[in-house]
Structures are given as structure tokens and as C-alpha cells.
């Protein structure tokens, strides 16, 4: 492809920040989840920085046990409601809404997304997830979470029906809606859609998942694939190449944007960035030592690990119970850690610049805080270091862009848009202004032709 690749950036909106203690940071608003003005202001900040989109994730269950490990997933405003309020306060930035077909039906999804696309003037994207929360089934009259095969079969038929409803919905003149008379394995839907076709023709599609089925769906159908955490750079490279190779098989190699999550902890200087990272970690609430079992909830985005010295002891394979979190860890202890522990030590050094020996030593707190699996790749540094990492991943084809995870809200959003985006713009990596007003335009995608049923 001769087309110039351009970097794409989205903002993952988690009201608590994506760091488990982000909401406690001095620059955070603890009650952001229910403050729609603040949510609008954060979206406006993303728009001023010319980001591609604001991303609204979703879950269909809650679990109060997550309060110290993953508070963002306990409660939130319903995403279409939030999206509508963001639409009213912005004019260019894309708005990604998560809608899970497993507990819905295609007509409802098609209608809500088309409606939003009208109100926001063609800025809507659908994050199609099939759900990782087994508990959601119990909120929707089912006894159990469907297995991956059934969820994706259902999701794919949903997508076919949704696309057909949009393709046959009333056109720009408000007329010409046609029935689709869909009769499939799971759905029977007559149509036509009562809402006009989305201004984008087809609302932008984003998919996220880990399974083979998810990768295939993303490569075949999605405009953006949202990539989850990967243990190594090699796995990251493999994931990117795999999505592109699969997309090429469907004749759409240059139409799928692969976006991993990225948590930038940035400040004007490296020292300040590390201090900020340390401050966030120091605000984490540890579970009491007597509680056994490090896994609070297994599975998917809602998974939350019990953060404690006991859990850290188990992971690192050395006894950390009773330790003083601020004290340095003796080099002998660090030499004795497990293989996984050694991997985490390298990660600690990358993030904090502290080492086993040398002037800045690894602390017990570093070990304890490094125990949970990270939600996304994290980079700690000054604006140049963060921009370097972004540029490297982009140029090395590990990513086409990133979904930015702000560790605190609004503080980390402000830091990223004020410190990193200008540097990316200066390097010619990121747009200085929007070239259009629709999300399709931001992504360089044409409005697809209408196909009749």
C-alpha cells in the first residue's frame, strides 16, 4: 500500500482512572462516574487534542468485591446515555459505545447505534463484545454464560442483521426503508428500521477479544481491533501480524486498524513521572493478609486480583509477609525470586528505573504492586520517552495506534493531551487538525455502498 500510514489515538474513559487507585490521586475526581459535566469536559479535552475517539467500555454485571482491585468495573452510567451527553458537548471526536449482543437483539442495537450516529453527526463506533462476565447471564434470565462458540455465532448473526437493517433503512431523504425479512438460526427480524440509515452508512465497528473467533471476526468485519494485554513484545508482534494476515485473506488488509491499550504515566521530567507512578501505587489498598486466594474474580476485563503481601509472596516465590513496603529489598532476596518474578523485576526496573543494586533500589512495595497482571502496557517517562515508545511501536508494526488508558481522571488525560500529543504532532506522527467531521473520515474509511436485502 502506498497510502501513508497515520497514527490513531483514542481515549479509554474509565471514570476512576484505569489505575486501581487512580480515583484517590489528588488530581482525580473521585465521583467522576456520575458527573456528566466532567465526562463532557474530558471528551472536549480529547477533541482539542484531535484524538480519533473517546471509548466507553461496558459490563452487564457488578461485583462490590472489586472495589480495591478494579473499581471502574463496579458501576458506571449506561454507555448510550453517556455517549448522547458527549455528543451534545463535542463536534468532531468519535464516540465508541460498547454494546454486547449476547444479551440483546439486533434490532435494538441497530436502532440505538443509528440514533446516536444521527445525533453526533456520524461519529459513532460500536465496540462489539460478547462479554467476559459469567455473572451477567444471571441478570438476563439465563443460568450460565454461553461458551465462546455460541457467543460468537450469535454475535455474527447479530452483525449480519444489524448491517442489513442499516443498508435497508430509510436514506438521507428520510424515505425508502425496505424490510429485510431475516430468518436465521437465532433471529427473525422483519424490518425496516424505523430510524434513518446512519450518516456513516455503516457505523464504525470495533471488536475486542482474545479467542480465535474474535480475531477472525475482527479481521473480517471490524474497522478497528482493540488489542488486549500481551505478555511479551513478541506476542504483541504476532498478534498484530496475525490480524493483518487474516484481514488480507478477506481482502481488507489496509482497512483494519489495530489498537492496543497503553497507559502513559507522563510528567515534564522522568523523575516526576516515576514519582507520579509511585504515588499512584502508594494509594492502593492492600487486602488483609489472612485472606487466602489471590483471585477475586477470574475471567476477562473484570478480573481483579487481591493485592497483598501474601499474593506477592506466592508470585515471587519468596516470603514477603510482614515487609515494610517502603524498605529496599536485599539483593539476595531478589536473586532468589521465581522465573515469573524475574520477569516482573525487569518490568519494575523499566517502569521505576530502580534496580537490585545501584543507587536506586527496588522496594518491597514495588514487588507487591507488580503482582497483578497489568491491564495494558504501561510506560512511565517524560513526553519524549513516551512519544519514543509510541513511535517505535507504530513504526515497528506492533500497533497502528493506541487506546490511551488515563490512570487518573481528569489528571492523566490532561497530562497526555498537553504533554505527549504536541510532541507526536511535532514529529509528524499525529494529525494537527481533523480532516473531516465523521469517525470514518478520521480513520480514512469511505462510506460503504448500500447493499439491498
Amino acid at each position: 500500500m502506498s497510502v501513508q500510514r497515520t497514527l490513531h489515538l483514542g481515549l479509554m474513559f474509565w471514570a476512576t482512572g484505569t489505575h486501581a487507585a487512580g480515583w484517590r490521586h489528588p488530581d482525580a475526581r473521585a465521583d467522576a462516574a456520575y458527573d456528566i459535566r466532567l465526562i463532557q469536559e474530558v471528551s472536549q479535552a480529547a477533541e482539542r487534542a484531535k484524538l480519533d475517539f473517546v471509548f466507553l467500555g461496558d459490563r452487564l454485571a457488578t461485583d462490590p468485591a472489586l472495589q480495591h482491585s478494579n473499581p471502574a468495573q463496579i458501576s458506571r452510567l449506561e454507555p448510550f446515555t453517556t455517549a448522547a451527553a458527549i455528543a451534545a458537548a463535542t463536534s468532531h471526536v468519535g464516540i465508541v459505545v460498547t454494546a454486547n449482543p449476547t444479551y440483546s437483539d439486533p434490532y435494538s442495537i441497530a436502532r440505538l447505534l443509528a440514533s446516536l450516529d444521527h445525533l453526533d453527526g456520524g461519529r459513532t463506533a460500536w465496540n462489539l463484545v460478547t462479554g467476559a462476565d459469567a455473572a451477567a447471564a444471571l441478570n438476563f434470565g439465563r443460568d450460565a454464560h454461553w461458551d465462546t462458540g455460541k457467543r460468537y455465532d450469535w454475535a455474527e448473526e447479530t452483525l449480519r442483521v444489524v448491517r442489513a437493517l442499516w443498508d435497508n433503512a430509510p436514506g438521507p431523504d428520510g424515505r425508502g426503508g425496505r424490510p429485510i425479512h431475516h430468518r436465521g438460526t437465532y433471529f427473525s427480524v422483519d424490518g425496516p428500521l424505523d430510524v434513518g440509515a446512519p450518516p456513516q452508512g455503516q457505523v464504525v465497528l470495533l471488536s475486542a477479544g482474545t479467542s480465535d473467533r474474535s480475531r477472525d471476526l475482527g479481521a473480517r468485519e471490524a474497522d478497528m481491533v482493540f488489542a488486549g494485554p500481551q505478555p511479551t513484545l513478541a506476542a504483541r508482534r504476532e498478534f498484530y501480524a496475525d490480524i493483518k494476515a487474516r484481514a488480507a485473506r478477506y481482502g481488507r488488509a489496509d482497512q483494519v486498524t489495530v489498537l492496543p491499550g497503553l497507559t502513559p504515566v507522563v510528567a515534564p521530567t522522568t523523575e516526576e513521572a516515576v514519582a507520579r507512578y509511585d504515588e499512584l501505587n502508594s494509594l492502593l489498598v492492600l487486602a488483609p493478609e489472612e485472606e487466602v486466594g489471590e483471585l477475586v474474580r477470574a475471567g476477562g476485563i473484570g478480573e481483579g486480583y487481591r493485592l497483598s503481601r501474601t499474593s506477592a509472596s506466592r508470585l515471587f516465590g519468596v516470603d514477603l509477609r510482614g515487609c515494610d513496603l517502603t524498605a529496599q529489598v536485599p539483593a539476595e532476596t531478589l536473586a532468589a525470586v521465581s522465573e515469573e518474578g524475574r520477569r516482573r523485576l525487569a518490568e519494575i526496573t523499566r517502569l521505576t528505573r530502580r534496580t537490585a543494586t545501584g543507587p536506586h533500589r527496588i522496594t518491597y512495595g514495588d514487588l507487591v504492586y507488580a503482582t497483578p497482571t497489568q491491564l495494558s502496557h504501561t510506560v512511565v517517562g517524560d513526553p519524549y520517552e513516551v512519544a519514543d515508545m509510541i513511535q517505535e511501536w507504530f513504526e515497528e508494526r506492533l500497533a497502528d495506534g493506541f487506546n490511551i488508558y488515563p490512570s487518573s481522571v481528569p489528571g492523566s488525560v490532561t497530562d497526555f493531551v498537553d504533554l505527549v500529543v504536541p510532541e507526536l504532532q511535532r514529529r509528524g506522527l499525529f494529525r494537527k487538525d481533523y480532516q473531516g467531521t465523521t469517525l470514518r473520515e478520521h480513520l480514512g474509511l469511505a462510506v460503504p455502498p448500500r447493499r439491498s436485502a
Binding site: 487507585a21 480515583w23 482525580a28 473521585a30 465521583d31 462516574a33 456520575y34 456528566i36 452487564l60 454485571a61 457488578t62 462490590p64 468485591a65 472495589q67 480495591h68 473499581p71 463496579i74 458501576s75 452510567l77 449506561e78 448510550f80 446515555t81 453517556t82 448522547a84 451527553a85 455528543a87 451534545a88 458537548a89 444479551y103 440483546s104 437483539d105 434490532y107 435494538s108 440505538l112 440514533s115 446516536l116 444521527h118 445525533l119 455473572a135 444471571l138 441478570n139 438476563f140 434470565g141 433503512a169 430509510p170 428520510g174 424515505r175 425508502g176 426503508g177 437465532y186 433471529f187 427473525s188 427480524v189 422483519d190 425496516p192 424505523d194 430510524v195 434513518g196 494509594l283 489498598v285
Partner: protein
């Protein structure tokens, strides 16, 4: 009959060309708010009998309007047949949060063959269990709103306490038509319960609504708050009004709405005469030009429940904030043990 009783006034925004481009809708909503209208009702039907586009879904329009107004109530319509109670409870609770207590839910139950034909899926035929589902639905939604007690969302930076888990409850609803475990993943709405409106004629839900919509001021359970649905034809003169009415096909009053025809004086007199018997009026305009005429000529002359236009939608309708049913149960359980 109390001569000084006031009326709450709502405008229903459909069927009067009020569904044009989104900007028109905002302008209409803002004008209504400026004129002191208490609430807007957004009808919603997930089906069409024509090839033409209708308005965007009420669930998306209502919060969009909420973001562009500050005082007016916003009543979204949602059918028990085509929503899951968990989704519906979230959407309406979220609308109440983003509007700071201005949300209402007009519950409808069908039947609607065209909408049924858009929503059949494995295990779900909206036509099959319509009434049983409707009968359980509102109670489940209220329980979900109560599943977070007031104060369960703590976020206290100093202590690190984000929520109070002892004030968040599963609802464990298992009825013939619906099973929902809960809790909801949204904190309790500012009004406790957003205002639930239902038609007095809609048997499965009428007994569970906060406000009944009636077509005749003498019908419906008089012990409960009722609003009268009114189709107005206001003319410069009585003759002009009669002409407008005739041009619209001369609709008559029935059990669903009262048709009012007259010059501004006559309409004000007629509407004011109902002030003692109903809580409010929901105006269903047949023609966009009627919105302006009514707003300018009639509205300023009606005595109102809340002339200052302040407070939540419940305040505007004279309803108390809803008590938490689950918190009461918990307190009782504690007392017994």
C-alpha cells in the same frame, strides 16, 4: 374541588412534525423549558408501518436533550416487551443521573405486531408472554433502582473506601416471566425512582405506576396522581379553532385523550377547570404551529404546581422522593435477628 390547585404541564414531542432534524428538536425542547413546561415526553416505537424514517430512539434522544437543558423533566418511553429489565433500569437510572433528577419512564406494554416481528430471537417471542412479563417488569426495575442504597457510592479518597458493599444488594428476582439476580451496576438514581408513567388503561402496569395517564379526568384511580392527555386545537377565534380541528380530521375525545377546541380564553378555561381533578396535563400536539400558539397564548395563563419550575421531576409533579424498598427490608431483617 380546590380553586387554587395548580397543574403540571408536559409536552409530548411526536406526531406534530417535531421529529425533524435534531437541531429542531433541541430548539423545541429549549423553548418549552424557557416557557416553564414541566416535562417532555418522548414516544418510542421500535417499528414502522411505512418506508419513512421516524425520530431517533427515545433512549438516546432523552439524554441528548438532557445535556442541552437544565430544568425540564424528560420522560423516555420504553416497552416491557422489547427491553430487558436490566438494560431498561440502567438507561432510565442513567438518564436520571445525567439530568440531575429530571427523568421519567413512560412504560408501555404493547401489543404491537410490527414491533414483535422485529424482535424475535431464540427463546424470546415478544408476543407470547407479553402480559406476564409486563406484570413483573416494573417491580423488577424498581428493585434494581433500589439495589444500591443511597450512600452506597462513597468514593472517599482519604479512607480509600470506594463503595459500601453492605448497602448494595442482589435482588434475586425469580418470577414466572423474568429472572434477574442484580444488583444493578448504576448507583441509585437521584430521585430514588425516576417517575414511572403508565396509561390507566394498560392493565398489567397501571397498578405499579407513579402517575397514570388518562383520557378523561374522571377515569382511573382517583386516589393516585393522574395526568390528562390533551390534544389541543387553539385558534385565534372559536371558529378558527373549529376549522383547525376539522382540518385535522375532527378527532374526538376518547378514553385515551381529551380533545380541546377553542380560542385561548376558552382553552384556558377548559384546562383550568380540570385543575382540581388531575395533577397535570400532557399536551399531544397534532401540528407544530400549535406548540407555539399554546406556549404563547395558553401556558402563561395556567396555574401551576411549581410556578418556580424548580427541583426534580418528582418535585414538579408533587411526588415525594421514592423510599428504598430493599433498604427497608434489610433494616427489618436486622431488627428481627
Amino acid at each position: 374541588m380546590t380553586g387554587d390547585a395548580g397543574l403540571a404541564i408536559g409536552y409530548e414531542l411526536q406526531g406534530a412534525g417535531l421529529t425533524g432534524p435534531p437541531g429542531v428538536l433541541v430548539a423545541t425542547a429549549r423553548a418549552a423549558e424557557a416557557a416553564g413546561v414541566d416535562y417532555l415526553v418522548f414516544p418510542d416505537r421500535p417499528a414502522t408501518a411505512t418506508d419513512s424514517a421516524g425520530p431517533p430512539a427515545a433512549a438516546v434522544v432523552a439524554p441528548w436533550i438532557a445535556a442541552q437543558t437544565s430544568r425540564i423533566g424528560l420522560v423516555t418511553t420504553g416497552s416491557t416487551a422489547y427491553h430487558e429489565p436490566y438494560h431498561l433500569a440502567r438507561m432510565v437510572a442513567s438518564l436520571d443521573h445525567v439530568s440531575a433528577g429530571r427523568a421519567g419512564w413512560q412504560v408501555v406494554t404493547g401489543p404491537d405486531d410490527l414491533a414483535d416481528a422485529n424482535h424475535r430471537r431464540e427463546g424470546v417471542d415478544p408476543a407470547a408472554h407479553r402480559e406476564a412479563r409486563a406484570a413483573e417488569f416494573v417491580g423488577v426495575v424498581r428493585d434494581l433502582w433500589d439495589s444500591w442504597e443511597d450512600g452506597a457510592f462513597v468514593p472517599d479518597k482519604a479512607s480509600g473506601r470506594f463503595i459500601d458493599g453492605s448497602r448494595i444488594h442482589a435482588i434475586d428476582h425469580a418470577g414466572p416471566a423474568l429472572r434477574v439476580r442484580g444488583p444493578l451496576n448504576v448507583a441509585r438514581p437521584p430521585q430514588g425512582h425516576p417517575v414511572v408513567f403508565a396509561s390507566a388503561a394498560d392493565a398489567p402496569v397501571a397498578s405499579t405506576a407513579d402517575v397514570l395517564t388518562v383520557g378523561d379526568p374522571e377515569s382511573g384511580d382517583a386516589g393516585r396522581p393522574r395526568v390528562l392527555a390533551v390534544v389541543p386545537f387553539v385558534g385565534r377565534t372559536g371558529a378558527h379553532a373549529a376549522e383547525l380541528h376539522a382540518r385535522a380530521g375532527a378527532p374526538r375525545s376518547d378514553h385515551e385523550r381529551a380533545v380541546v377546541v377553542g380560542d385561548p380564553d376558552e382553552v384556558v378555561g377548559q384546562l383550568s377547570s380540570w385543575a382540581g381533578s388531575v395533577t397535570g396535563l400532557t399536551l399531544r400536539f397534532r401540528d407544530p404551529s400549535q406548540v407555539a400558539v399554546f406556549t404563547d397564548e395558553v401556558l402563561p395563563r395556567l396555574r401551576r404546581v411549581r410556578p418556580d419550575g424548580a427541583g426534580t421531576l418528582r418535585d414538579r409533579l408533587g411526588l415525594p422522593r421514592a423510599a428504598n424498598r430493599l433498604a427497608v427490608q434489610t433494616a427489618t431483617a436486622v431488627e428481627r435477628s
